[in-house]
């Protein structure tokens, strides 16, 4: 028995090694774009939706002109498992596959962890929705097309105070998570500066029970719960707030812009409002094309959470791909260094708005965010307004 198992194992190993070696070669000119996204772990769901946007963009435009020659664009996805210690190896995998530019990642933590690997390899990376300031700060190779935590937190505070007229807020964030706590920090700063009152609460990783925290919020007299958490918790918070008939607005950030939330909110008496990068309906052509593409493939449908609603991160992924193509065209080269140099001057107007990188860190110049509200009857997002810092 033992011997048979040993033999099978050995055989498997051999097959593995051969399979790993066998790479096909074609004469086609190819340029590779790496997709550095989580497909598992805490940010798996978001990472998948972002990847879908990139893949759709690739489906729309699978080639690029360089020096008058048509290059085929090949996407190289890799799963960083939402884990810091897996991120460098995942990044190295992309380096090994000789990608010219990298897109991603959903979740700032893994982007920071992988940053050095890209830097050493001289490969430019374009952050799609990683909003932490540290991703690009002091880096000449990491760009990003989204707004940052300080911006988003401030926007939400202004919106809650000025537009919704709330004066007391309660914040919920996962401890030790720089995304949650960063937004909470900037929100609190801005909200109290305006004259509002904020109570901060945190919960630990893998919490399922938010009853107590929601009760605390209600007891504190809060009119709004600001909960910029990951989707995993968002769903539970919506469920439990609804079950409690809590009379508060749930205000959240881009992570909540997901059909998972809509599904959870459907038919319930909850008020959910989020900031986001893109509003469905913002670009009819993109909307229709993306939906058709999602519905045309069952795997895509699953990855998108079971329906064809458009997550903002997908739209961002879509734009990121085209930004990369613009840079490649501008560089007129497949060489990562050339693309990196070209990226600084790229200007592109995508479905999520105009994208242009600032000269300090390579962050996109974004001055507005979209606010939208969950419609609990139709399970769709209703557009509320565009909100800036002021």
């Amino acid at each position: 028995m033992k011997k048979i198992v040993a033999l099978v194992l050995a055989a498997l190993m051999l097959v593995t090694v051969f399979a790993a070696c066998g790479e096909t070669k074609t004469d086609e000119k190819v340029i590779k774009i790496g997709i550095f996204e989580p497909a598992s772990g805490a940010n798996g769901a978001g990472g998948k939706q972002e990847t879908l946007g990139i893949k759709y963009a690739h489906a729309v435009c699978p080639t690029v002109e360089i020096n008058g020659e048509t290059y085929k664009v090949e996407l190289v996805p890799v799963d960083n498992q939402s884990a810091d210690d897996k991120a460098p190896t995942a990044a190295a995998e992309l380096v090994g596959k000789k990608v010219s530019v990298v897109l991603g990642s959903y979740g700032s933590g893994v982007s920071i962890a992988a940053s050095d690997t890209f830097k050493q390899a001289g490969i430019p990376a374009i952050g799609v929705t990683c909003t932490n300031p540290k991703v690009t700060e002091g880096n000449s190779h990491y760009f990003r097309i989204c707004f940052l935590d300080p911006f988003q937190g401030t926007v939400l505070a202004n919106y809650a105070y000025n537009e919704l007229g709330y004066r007391t807020a309660y914040t919920l964030g996962e401890t030790g998570n720089e995304y949650d706590q960063g937004l909470v920090h900037y929100f609190t700063e801005a909200f109290t500066a305006l004259g509002g009152k904020v109570e901060n609460a945190s919960f630990v990783k893998d919490t399922s029970d938010f009853n107590t925290l929601i009760t605390n919020a209600v007891n504190s007299g809060a009119e709004v719960i600001f909960a910029p958490t990951s989707i995993q918790y968002a769903q539970l918070i919506v469920e439990q707030a609804a079950a409690k008939n809590a009379d508060v607005t749930l205000l959240a950030s881009d992570t909540w812009d997901s059909n998972v939330i809509l599904a959870a909110a459907k038919g319930k008496d909850v008020d959910i409002q989020v900031t986001t990068f893109y509003q469905e309906g913002g670009n009819a052509e993109f909307d229709a094309g993306f939906k058709a593409w999602i519905e045309g493939d069952s795997q895509n449908l699953t990855d998108n959470g079971g329906d064809s609603k458009i997550a903002a991160v997908s739209a961002m992924g879509y734009d990121a791909y085209f930004v990369a193509l613009e840079a490649i065209k501008a560089a007129n080269s497949t060489n990562p260094a050339d693309i990196m140099a070209a990226l600084w001057d790229v200007e592109y107007t995508g479905v999520t708005g105009a994208i242009k990188f600032d000269e300090i860190n390579g962050d996109a110049d974004r001055s507005t965010a979209y606010i939208k509200k969950a419609n609990t009857d139709t399970a769709l997002w209703d557009f509320v307004k565009e909100q800036g810092v002021n």
Binding site: F203, N211, N216, Q235, K244
Partner: protein
């Protein structure tokens, strides 16, 4: 700190769910001296099975079927991963348990594709009700009641049936029980069957309260239930239940304080270390003496 009836209700409900998982731990530990790290994952798997079953059939068929499938899973894990190691050192078995846990989580990840799965709402027990001015789901009230009923049944089973007697004998002295002609494997399988069945019930109640299943959903409740089992005195069923309620309530009381809410898990473990150091046998455990 601002304690209200909500906090207590949440605590009791969570305590009941921990209790149902804790029994699986305490029974297995009592008999095999094994921390079955995979138990929490069986609990999670049971939740996933419901998610997938309800897409194919109505709830009234899905629920009995899920109980059966979870039991089979527990039974199969014992046969495949623990039985071959019966003569091996305890550390090997524990490592095997960790391996099984790792495997189940990765399988779940593969199947779900890493997306959180929404647990179906079960009519009636998912409805919101108002008690003493606190709004909650009906399941919150049902959980502790159902837990107590199941435990009374279980204690009766262990006390008055033949297999129950065999279980007690095996947990007292494994070798002697074997020599007395007790079919050890049957007893162990039964233990796993009962443990998994209760975990499946616990899973139904838990995920009805928190309608999202991810591959790691089982780890924390599992670990805490184990702590509850140790706290109550491992091997003792009433101990596990009381321990679970104490931990569930304490945890929610801590959560009611904004400043210390983030220590709710840490508190559980600090309590565990404290109990182990002061009274290693827990509240209701028996003392054992090493033979020299």
């Amino acid at each position: 700190m601002n304690i209200t009836i909500d906090h207590l209700l949440a605590g009791i409900s969570v305590g009941g769910q921990y209790a149902l998982i804790a029994i699986g731990y305490t029974m297995v530990y009592g008999i095999l001296r094994l921390i079955n790290f995979a138990h929490g994952d069986v609990f999670m798997a049971s939740g996933l099975i419901v998610v997938y079953l309800t897409t194919a059939m109505p709830l009234q068929y899905a629920i009995p079927l899920v109980l059966f499938l979870t039991v089979m899973l527990g039974f199969f894990i014992e046969r495949a991963a623990y039985k071959p190691l019966r003569q091996a050192p305890r550390m090997s078995v524990m490592i095997s348990a960790i391996g099984v846990s790792y495997l189940i989580q990765n399988l779940a990840l593969y199947i779900t594709g890493g997306l959180p799965q929404t647990y179906p709402a079960i009519p009636w027990i998912s409805d919101s009700i108002t008690i003493f001015g606190a709004v909650t789901k009906r399941v919150t009230i049902i959980t502790p009641i159902l837990t107590i009923i199941l435990i009374v049944l279980l204690v009766a089973l262990i006390r008055y049936t033949k297999i129950g007697m065999a279980m007690r004998a095996v947990s007292k002295d494994f070798e002697t029980a074997q020599l007395m002609g007790i079919k050890i494997n049957r007893v162990i399988s039964t233990t796993f069957v009962i443990g998994s069945l209760l975990a499946a019930v616990g899973s139904l109640l838990y995920f009805t309260s928190y309608q999202s299943v991810v591959p790691t959903s089982g780890s924390m409740p599992g670990l805490k239930a184990f702590v509850a089992a140790v706290f109550g005195g491992i091997g003792s069923i009433p101990g596990a239940v009381i321990g679970a309620f104490i931990i569930g309530i304490c945890e929610n009381l801590i959560k009611s304080s904004t400043e210390f809410a983030i220590f709710s898990d840490a508190f559980t473990f600090a309590l565990l270390i404290f109990v182990l150091c002061v009274r290693p046998t827990g509240l209701f455990g028996e003392k054992s003496i090493d033979k020299v």
